[in-house]
Symmetry: D2
């Protein structure tokens, strides 16, 4: 059961009870609210694509831990071929959804965690890597949606975390024998309130004295002390107001939804902590994440969106009787050139 069906995903997600606010109001049911429902519908479509025989090679992989078939969204890439297929997955899901697939950010943090926890253990004799592998095996077995968050709210960007309100950035406030207690916030966390788990990575390269901020861990949805505040877009709100008149935006899945996650004295058991105080590895965590994130999310994912936009532009030209007008054909050709150039760049990024 390492790859679950769309319905199994829907059944599991229906049980989640995150403390979530959107537009100033508490959201009682993820499956009923028009915004969160869009997130769930999009994610469900990704589960569906994963079991579609036509896309199996792109959407599935074999776990390097167990050898079992898993969703590629939980795979640690082992080869260039894996990187290429990861690009294909990003482009395909953008083409099919026209919005975020919601399994991507965590996906790109997993390889970063795998490599960097190994490095810390190797240098320091810690056991972060084993903890991470245990979590990964668990996530692969359950086929979980693992979200991820990196960016702290930062406040005044000319100041370091300790020079201003220390709770802008996520950090440890207490270390106990069984785990740590964290405070702070992460923003732009894509679809986190509808994910089974959320990975938290450091958002800056920490310096000496900032050990409490050198922190990586994973937290399950619904944990006490965790509040999600939806950074919703107005196009999604419209879905609520005008159910029969979805003229603007993506009528099936809405816009990409992100949230601010507030951690108010949240307890994280040690087995879910993957770094705690090792400031010299924060840069490595971020860089490894950023490299694949730019390639997949900054690159192939947007190529997929552009595929839709270019097609829609051509269709509009045709509907308006303008497809053979020279300056319009030139603009659409220019869009194709830019999209192919972007594709070339991300494909080359897998080679170098």
């Amino acid at each position: 059961m390492a790859i679950i069906t769309e319905q199994e995903y829907r059944n599991r997600i229906a049980k989640l009870k995150p403390r979530l606010f959107i537009g100033g109001k508490r959201v009682e049911s993820l499956t009923d609210h028009p915004i969160t429902r869009g997130v769930i519908d999009a994610t469900a479509r990704v589960y569906e694509l994963t079991l579609d025989p036509q896309y199996k090679d792109t959407m599935q992989s074999l776990s390097h831990l167990t050898g079992e078939p898993i969703s590629r969204a939980l795979h640690i890439h082992q080869s260039r071929d894996d990187l290429h297929k990861r690009l294909d997955m990003a482009r395909l899901s953008s083409q099919k959804l026209g919005t975020c697939n919601y399994r991507c950010p965590g996906n790109e943090m997993l390889p970063s965690l795998a490599a960097t926890t190994w490095e810390i253990d190797h240098d320091k004799g810690t056991d972060y890597h084993q903890r991470f592998n245990n979590f990964l095996k668990y996530a692969q077995e359950k086929d979980l949606v693992v979200s991820g968050s990196v960016t702290d709210p930062k406040g005044d960007r000319s100041k370091r975390p300790l020079e201003q309100d220390p709770d802008y950035y996520v950090h440890v406030v207490e270390k106990r024998s069984d785990g740590i207690v964290v405070c702070g916030a992460k923003q732009h966390a894509t679809g986190a309130y509808a994910a089974d788990e959320t990975l938290v990575l450091p958002g800056i390269s920490c310096r000496k004295g900032e050990e409490d901020y050198a922190l990586a861990f994973v937290v399950p949805n619904g944990t006490e002390g965790v509040t999600y505040i939806g950074q919703y877009t107005p196009f999604s709100v419209e879905r609520e107001c005008e159910p029969d008149n979805r003229v603007i935006g993506n009528p099936l899945y809405g816009q990409r939804e992100t949230c601010l996650i507030v951690f108010d004295h949240v307890f994280i058991p040690w087995e879910r902590v993957f770094m705690c105080g090792e400031i010299e590895y924060t840069q490595s965590f971020i860089t490894r994440f950023a490299k694949t994130h730019r390639m997949n999310c900054g690159g192939a994912c947007k190529v997929g969106f552009m595929d839709l936009i270019i097609g829609a532009s051509q269709l509009m030209a045709e509907y308006n009787g303008l497809a053979r007008v020279s300056h319009i054909a030139q603009k659409i050709t220019r869009m194709l050139q830019l999209n192919d150039t972007s594709l070339a760049c991300v494909e080359m990024a897998t080679e170098k």
Copy 2:
């Protein structure tokens, strides 16, 4: 009483009963609906600015027909100085409102009508110009909001009006002794449903055989057979949904609101018809309108918005502690350069 107060405007507009639909629902009260209320609030602010002694020179003029003080929004420019002050008015209202001032499109049609009706009369012995002057005097005396519309829906743009559904474009379907009956539609009519009057100009240069489409007239709000369909933006809808959480868009006046106007056998008396069949003047109507519209609405108005946007960008940089970061300062400087270049172009347009 040639220039009325904000309150007088509000009192008058509250009596309007246009047949208006927004988001598929009939709007019963212009002053209560969150979208139409924004249009009225913005227009009211323009009336307020017009009587503000600080802006009198910019916002007022003297009627060339009566010599009385009038709103510059109803003035026919008589000199380069008038053109310069018209630019100032456009920029000022954009700076103050952050959205459309709703008195602009009609304003730019008036000079086009004044000149072209005179020309037709001169060549053909018609009396369009006198009719127009009568209307203008009336509008100036009452200080009316005169909206305007040019763009027909067009359908398949590779075809002429008569090659497709003839009702895409506004045209005459019957000529009677007391007036004409028109059908068709105009789109992108800015704030027309909240204006006292709407001017209608031809949207294309008509050819032989298209005489029924060579049409200019003015129609009062609430005329039988006229339906307005709001081409609303989602940001405005949000105002309705989230009254206490106006985080996105212009919280005071909303976005610029336009509408589709459908004319279903609307009767226009001859004294309100300013062209009917003179195809050889349609180009002149459009060109004269377009020249000042590009200068004021395409130019100075947007310079005013950029003033706001540049200030807001600088403020964001300062709040985030980034004002002295080189690449951000360069981008804001670049915005200033572009805005000053736009300003130079529109100022020069008044000279040549």
Copy 3:
């Protein structure tokens, strides 16, 4: 002796006696004239690089006809790996020369000729492919410089060849039992006057009635009736005027030199004719040539030049004490981004 030394090349080229004019004067000696000497020096450097053990893998290949080591400049690519190495060769020679390597255009015509002659023979029962293979084997054995030319002068581009002076385009004026007689001209022929052989391909997709223009052949340097007119650049002339003051341009190899080739009743024996009248294949000749030419010459070659230009820009910034000035560093970074984007595009072109 399939790969010759720089000196062997110089010895052979010294014997060439093309009818060449530069700046209105007949050039008597290719090795003495400052412009043609630059072309020879550049080409000689390519021969040197080809035998340099460090670049062997890039600059050499094995003939698919004989299995013998040959210069990659005379190779017909057999695989994606060949295409990649061809890119590497283009970039390397640009980096080393800072000007044209002069063996490139012919190189990109050879695969086009190999494929299209095979196609014609297959469809029509002609023997162009065997003739071409014979020529190729001869060129590989002697390690010849094979130049190429495609672009006819064209005249009025809104007209076809036969609607204007028929001699703008290269065409057959007589067919004999032993060969054909051609007239017309080709321009922008890179370094043709210093090459052993020049390939001639059709410059347009010929239509019915234009059979005489559907022509592909190869002509040795010094053939009777062939005149070269150097389309020299002033930077090269300067080398002549100011031998001790070569401050501008490339002081070793000059600028890229092209020429206009005039064919005045030139006899081409049948064994050197690779197409004659088969209009339906002209498009294929051009397209196949253009695809690799854009990739190698439009792409990788220019990436190599940009490598030099970016390095020189950085050096200038350092010499002037400006390397840490923000807006200059940003511009150099932007150059790097553009160059890497170009590289990504050409690398991807080998894959698709």
Copy 4:
């Protein structure tokens, strides 16, 4: 005789004996050398235009010192109208010459000197302004070509003048009762070797300790210790090499010629010194010069060149039968837009 004829100019200039080197060789005769002859021909054409009745209003003005007619190239602008006519003069001469008019840089230094010398005198009780007016009256009476130079070679731009070779920047090395002795160099001095006089302004805003560099003066052509080194362009050299084949560049007047001026212990009498040590006014000198220089030379002059280039582009399109090809017509239209935008910016610069 305040405005001289072309021939009077040629007669006077023929007597100049500057110590000038071009391409490493001493130039013996300004009127014979192909590069310097181009400079003289261009300047002579400006004298011709000045007396052409058709251009009188643009090219002439009345001296504010004497009321006599003078060349506008020696006028101190007194009004916005003067600024507008100065733009017209710049554009006209670019259109007529297709190269530098050689009277422009000095022209833009004169108003800066007039204003700033007045300010220094007012604050410090010096008599620079009277000296300047005496020189100006003399130049106007003789209708001299007054060149100007601002830019010192600077060396390492991260260092101040005194932190490196002090002779990179022009500065005082001795003050005597009858004048000063200066050393250093100025570069990019347009046509200085063929001008009657050269104005020298400070190239940086001087700080405390840099008083010797806060220097403004004027030096006649041929003064002992002054050496000119032509920063010639290869297009000009070509004129020498290929007299019958002037296919590239401007065949009448060549390219804009600038030079490096080396001051090796040059004596300047006090009556020709307009600032000496007043560091707090260096910024003002530069800024006043730069504002009009950008407007005239950076702006209107280049608009004039673009007029030529756009016309030539259109002509090329027509000659090649391409004038109605959509993407070419669009590019030429884009050139027109850019040129009109530039013109709008400089015209507006005269207003604000």
